[in-house]
Symmetry: C2
Subunit: 415 residues, 2 copies
Amino acid sequence: MLAEIITIGDEILIGQIVDTNSAWIGQQLNAIGAQVVQITSVRDDRRAIVEAFDEAFGRADLILVTGGLGPTKDDITKHTLADYFGTTLVRDQATYDHLEQWITSRGMRFNELNQHQADVPAGCTVLANRHGTAPGMWFDRAGKVLISMPGVPHEMKAIMTDEVLPRLQAHFQLDRIIHKTAITIGIPESELALRIAPWEEALPASLKLAYLPNPNNIRLRLSSYRGDSKQVTAEIDRQFALLRELIPQHFLGFETASVEQSVAEGLKERGETLSTAESCTGGAIAARLTAMAGASAYFLGGVVAYSNAVKTDVLGVQAEDLEQYGAVSQPVARQMAEGIRRLTGSTYALATTGIAGPDGGTPDKPVGTVWIALATPTETITEERHFWEPREQNIQRASSAAMDLLRKYLYENCS
Amino acid sequence: MLAEIITIGDEILIGQIVDTNSAWIGQQLNAIGAQVVQITSVRDDRRAIVEAFDEAFGRADLILVTGGLGPTKDDITKHTLADYFGTTLVRDQATYDHLEQWITSRGMRFNELNQHQADVPAGCTVLANRHGTAPGMWFDRAGKVLISMPGVPHEMKAIMTDEVLPRLQAHFQLDRIIHKTAITIGIPESELALRIAPWEEALPASLKLAYLPNPNNIRLRLSSYRGDSKQVTAEIDRQFALLRELIPQHFLGFETASVEQSVAEGLKERGETLSTAESCTGGAIAARLTAMAGASAYFLGGVVAYSNAVKTDVLGVQAEDLEQYGAVSQPVARQMAEGIRRLTGSTYALATTGIAGPDGGTPDKPVGTVWIALATPTETITEERHFWEPREQNIQRASSAAMDLLRKYLYENCS
């Protein structure tokens, strides 16, 4: 079954927001065996919206639309939908009651604009929005389906999960598409490609390989678009087991596997703990660890040691070493890691000190120079790394590299 | 002049990556007066790519394409481009020389896959890629232009800035589109809409207003698509000045204005400093502050006090208060802020302690409950907030709310 996604909103076309909805919807559709063949973003413009609907109906069986359902005047999707399907807006009482409760319980006024959000095109199926004010709407047309949802990501996600996906599975006879993605870390794309070339050459024709690089890792995806799903899954697993043997130290796991997740799992399994002392990464390692629910089980806390005074006074870095070697140096990284480990009593500690850029580089220590340290109960390991990217990516890469140092240590020192 | 953006890659359609390129390109094109009318994402599939090219050439004068130029076999854009423009691949010596230098200077091997990246369709104009291995390519066709760039965001951005934008300005006679966006904070969308309704009603017909909500703020964009640019700019400025009078305490600034930027500017102007003590936000405030270049001028550092032991031992929170009131409480937030301020000697300190979710809520303190504290030289201000969202948004909102507390303090206590 072929699907398309249409996102509506001037703010997308002039680049004021990044469309993150489409990626999430694409993942969900794939998981139930629907193949997304196009994603289209159009303006808050009646003609552009209608044209996009027409073209998508020509190519696909299912069209998921997000955006343009807010309470304000620039959001025209609902009126356009009513016209498109030859109907008019009517008040939906269940939505009205939900809205009134939802808004007043938050201490806000149930004003006229909110009340209009209970109006929907007659004849559509209303999809309840647990997390917001604009409901989703399901339209049938000659065996095909168009679904409109609000653009606010967590509202759209709840409607998809609660209403859209179960109904789609019941409504369509779906093909079975299978994707599985292995996550690698610490090896550049072209080196990886050469290293695994014999494996890639020997892949069966029914499996399609894709390389997906990002600042933290290279992902390798195998896809199958037909065939018996049990056999295909087994073949994909067999191929990835062969791949893992080729690059054991670079193989992080599957799908959403990340270095922080890998570190979290390793620590939880061992009942061990971590703390952080961050200079150039400025809290990014702590933020990535604590973005995962349950981080308090293994993450005790950390210090963002941006100034030298915090490095000496809180972490106990020697002022002489700061003076002699500079803040971006092996001794300072080492003392930061050992200092925060002492302070928190954690099993391990990670430290970073470097020059994220764009300023602050010297011929000796150019922008992108980072010292990383891992303090363990028995030793402190340090590493010098060089990144060549803008500030944001340098911070991301340094954070990943620090966590990867711990991941490899946990892997090599199995308890 | 009408433009379209086409992003190529299966990884986009199955949702494995979020397309952030289109938003950035949209911003740049708008700034030079090109109007983006559609963004289309298609698979790594020759027919889908060719169809997207044909349709875009039918609607627009300029087509910017990203993706599918990597060194590996799944990237087919370059071959498809050669066929589409009826030509073949030839080696570009300047690109070859750059590649060899770029790769070997990074201690990597200049392998065959990298060498093939110097092959381009004959007749195109090569656009140098300072930051990577795949060059951009400019194709002319009957007065219209198609430009292909790699999908890696910082490589694409450098090619756009260095090569594409200056060439486009020289090549096209561009209309003048003007957008200006005001950023508000601390007021829900429907309340804002009612509060400013008289202003909105009185806007001239030539200006289009859009509401752009996100987890940190609501943005209001005024757009003009024609008219004398000096007059239009003056009228937009006049309208925003009126708006500012309606909501002075919620008006953050323009365009990319963010609460962290506003705090940073306020502190730099006053020569004052900040430190942070974060529990539920887990380093997100520090990470947002240090993501901005030059943060060391005002940000001394912080503590991520995830465990109670770090709260007591490092920040000096009273164990009795933790026991009596719990970690998520006014006294603990207050002592965290005062503790980090004492430890670092900063002018101000911000602290957060709360329940980000999804677990850890109680009837008394449900998920989303956050205490925020601001310690200043003369007083400590605390605030209890409730957010109703998933973990990630609760962390974002709590971070923004904490920084907004300082922003308002700086605004109300002008030196």
